[in-house]
Symmetry: C2
Subunit: 265 residues, 2 copies
Amino acid sequence: MNRAAATIARRDASPASADWPGDVLARADKARVRTRSCAQCDLGSLAFCDGFAPRTVSSIRRVQCTVQHDAHDTLFREGDEGAAVYSVLSGAIKVYKLMPDGRRQITGFFFRGDMFGFCLDGSYAYTAEAITPIEVCRLPMQRLNDLSETAPEVQHRIMLRMTAKLAQFHNHVLLLGRKTARERVATFLLSLSDRARRRGDPPSPLALPMGRADIADYIGLTVETVSRTMTAFKRDGLIDLPTPNHIDICRAEALRAVSDGTARG
Amino acid sequence: MNRAAATIARRDASPASADWPGDVLARADKARVRTRSCAQCDLGSLAFCDGFAPRTVSSIRRVQCTVQHDAHDTLFREGDEGAAVYSVLSGAIKVYKLMPDGRRQITGFFFRGDMFGFCLDGSYAYTAEAITPIEVCRLPMQRLNDLSETAPEVQHRIMLRMTAKLAQFHNHVLLLGRKTARERVATFLLSLSDRARRRGDPPSPLALPMGRADIADYIGLTVETVSRTMTAFKRDGLIDLPTPNHIDICRAEALRAVSDGTARG
DNA sequence: CGTTGACTTGATAGCAGTCAAGTCAAGTGG
DNA sequence: CCACTTGACTTGACTGCTATCAAGTCAACG
């Protein structure tokens, strides 16, 4: 189980080096930065640099570094200087915003192959936190910009990722603004399932690495309502819950109908 | 008054030409496309191409066209091929998504200097509709991509706009997921006011080109709740409503406190 | 075997939605 | 000029969905 990773020694006070950029260490104090680079990257077609010209790939390799974090580590905070984008190699990450009184809104979950941290200049608009032990590929934004002089395809691909994220936000805003609790939970589960399928994960049982509180803060409900709704779906035979963190979608069409509000009743 | 623009003749069945791209006419059947180009553009520092090298600007001019629409015209629909991005010269535009049963979520308002329609490939994720008579600068996305070979600053600037939009979405998701009705309305009014200031519009009275129903569908409430809340703000002296479509923000700090949930009571 | 934390279930309350009617300004036509 | 229409906004009464508060279940762990 991935708890084991949490036992690896931390490099809290090690000096920065060319391979381990100082700002990574300054910001993410508990990060373990590995010298070995993209060579062992197993993202395949999910990788940001998949399909780039060899020269472009090696340019990216020179500025990239791989970082490991324990569960619950904070990668960066809202207001931090937005210095890098991240590509997820393994594990799950959540990003969120807080209100002064502690209300929290999770604005995204990120899994293997996903990228987050887009921030051209200025500071991050949100905090990023590891849900499970994670491994991410860190790409300094400034270096990627420099690359664009010789390799415009790099910028183009970042834009593709950002466009996809924008489309996702449009859907999520619809969910938060206009969907009922049942519709929100159904939409959320189908979206997780769809993303698992796209990245080639076994579709069943679907892993829910985040807790009920995270789900609630993502879809704008409370823990209790999420729990009640999932229980109701189970009672109605739409899903099964072998464990609280694994679901089987039994009747995808029916769940889809709930999700877009066309379910009868 | 800008109603006058609505009387200009339409060019419904005119043949396409190099200056008036065929796809503009096919999609936006009621559009009036003007041959005169960026020469008369008065966006100044708000313009997408402001500050680009003269050669880059003239490349953009060659592929750009200016389009006029009446209020309530649809520029493109959810599912249409995403062929172009738009920069607003004048007027107000809303973009929205619909659910099968008619529920609507407005995901953005766009004013002078704003850009919308980002969609690298695939189709638009939302419908765009003119609120008032509008004039927009249409930039075919494919042509902008071609330009990036010689002028990477074009892509970079698109990325800046997209990054800003992403940050905006994070805030809007927080509003929809976790804010109360009062907080939502306060946040909305302050955001409109802030955007007016940034584009150099007179800050007071603040124009509300959209109706109550549009506001409600943007911040996830009903018309009645929006109306009641604005009335309450007026009663409490936070704002004044000289007409239903113009507001004066009387106590900005107090409204700000309501907006981020720090207001007492 | 007790502790802990996450999840679930139950009872009640409240905020915003729904339904309905009223106000108001701008147009329209006699 | 004035009665009538229209559409947008406002106000009021009531309902209901989801939040809140509280307690119970359960598995993991030491």
